[in-house]
Amino acid sequence: MTTIFGVPMQALFGQLLLGLINGSFYAILSLGLAIIFGLLNIINFAHGALYMMGAFVAWMLLNYLGVNYWWALALAPLLVGAFGIVLERVLIARLYKLDHLYGLLLTFGMALIIQGLFRNYYGVSGLPYAIPPELSGGQRLPFMFLPNYRAWVVVASLAVCLATWLVIEKTKLGSYLRAATENPTLVQAFGVNVPLFLTLTYGFGVALAGFAGVLAAPIYSVNPNMGADIIIVVFAVVVIGGMGSILGSVITGFGLGLIEGLTKVFYPEASATVIFVIMVLVLLVKPAGLFGRAA
């Protein structure tokens, strides 16, 4: 068998693919966190719970209403986004004038409540969600077997991140978002309805989490704890990329997924901690993050 640095090529590419898949989720989730933090100054600890909700909404749509994966991919983000808009209007909007810590505590509490509710009704053993028939099977590449669904996850995640980046950087709507992130008071003084922007931005950020949840449903089991497991890593990704940096969060998300995958091949014992070690190093050298602007 062909080997690279004494590692079978099949194992190397397999882990790289796994890293890329994890990276896809890190990227979408940290992108949503970055947008929300940039404009609202809220560290959205509920992000993992809303990602989990996305997966559960897809499961419910399928099992209660017979709505298939493709419709769920569109509907679940909308429903999670709408839920986020309600949360923002009813709870989060009251905290904008207070310290970051309050937003973190509130959203952490929301995450615990949402997870608790799902645990209460669905238990923690996890629910199966089948890969849509159009994406079952895989491609036999010369060096590895590539499951179609996993390839789709990477492509869909890249497409969503790219589209989000384009909207923020290249459109009129995005210019309002960027300007309001810098100086909301002045943008408001020009006659722009900034509070509406904050609400829609939170809704969009958590819709991204819901979308990631639907993508994840056929890969990981649909489980109330799935968000809590991933969100800590995603926060490390955001810190490494730089709080509030859009492109930084996407690049860091994919990059760290790959690094995690490589670590699993070469030194599996460190694979669970490598991201946090990198976070510590980045914080020591560049406290604002790799792509962050120093305040």
Binding site: S175, L186, A189
Partner: protein, 246 residues
């Protein structure tokens, strides 16, 4: 009798576009404005003069509605704005050019120019603004904050002209700029006056203000203490020096 009844209610004179009555303002706990009274008629250029910390900038911030705590009365075209959100005040046709210019670093020059929404019909076209400030056309693709201080000031003024705002609040537009740029800003303000814009100008440099303004309102410790017509400025120069402490 009816006339006496009217007088008990402080009302703006009918020809005032902007009427400020008994304006109080606070930054947190500190009380900064102590009853500002000010009338600005359509087409006028009025400067607010006074020492640092007298309340000139705060007055502008109160008029545009970004001073969080304010009381009293501010009417624009007869509409009471004291309780309105700043976005709704701007929508009445007010344009604000802040002292720090407020150019957005994450936006290009063109995006900065296009950012403020149109609030009233009759604003300038981008082509007209580029004629007024040719530098903005040349540097349309640059990052907003990569412009020189003078160019940033032109951008801050130019982007308001697009919106159709008829009353422009200009906070120290010449601060820290080279004399040749100050002259260009002065020409622009005169041109705007010629086009019928109404301008409230905060200015430290009264020699510059003298070349543009119809009236000068002197603010001291959050109150209007004097008003000097522009043609009486030279006759009152000693008094003005005393006010400004120069």
């Amino acid at each position: 009798m009816a006339e006496a009844a009217l007088k008990t209610v402080p009302r703006a004179s009918s020809d005032a576009l902007l009427a400020v009555r008994g304006l109080e303002g606070w930054y947190g706990e500190s009380h900064v404005l102590h009853g500002i009274d000010l009338d600005v008629r359509a087409g006028e250029v009025v400067t607010l003069l006074g020492r640092n910390g007298a309340g000139k900038t705060t007055t502008l911030r109160a008029i545009i509605g970004i001073l969080a705590r304010r009381a009293g009365s501010i009417t624009y075209e007869g509409v009471e704005t004291i309780g309105m959100a700043s976005r709704n005040i701007a929508r009445l046709g007010l344009g604000y050019v802040p002292e720090e210019r407020g150019i957005f670093a994450s936006l290009t020059v063109a995006e900065n120019l296009m950012l403020p929404p149109i609030v009233k019909p009759g604003g300038m076209s981008v082509a007209e603004i580029h004629t007024l400030f040719p530098n903005l056309a040349e540097r349309a693709g640059s990052q907003g904050t990569k412009l020189s201080g003078g160019e940033q000031q032109m951008l801050a003024i130019g982007r308001i002209l697009r919106t159709g705002a008829k009353l422009i609040l200009l906070d120290e537009p010449t601060e820290g700029l080279a004399p040749v740029i100050v002259q260009q800003i002065g020409r622009t303000i005169r041109e705007l006056k010629g086009r019928g814009y109404t301008i409230v100008l905060v200015e430290q440099n009264f020699r510059f203000a003298q070349t543009l303004a119809d009236r000068h309102v002197v603010i001291e410790q959050g109150r209007v203490v004097d008003e000097i017509a522009n043609d009486a400025l030279d006759a009152n120069i000693d008094k003005l020096h005393a006010y400004l402490g120069v």
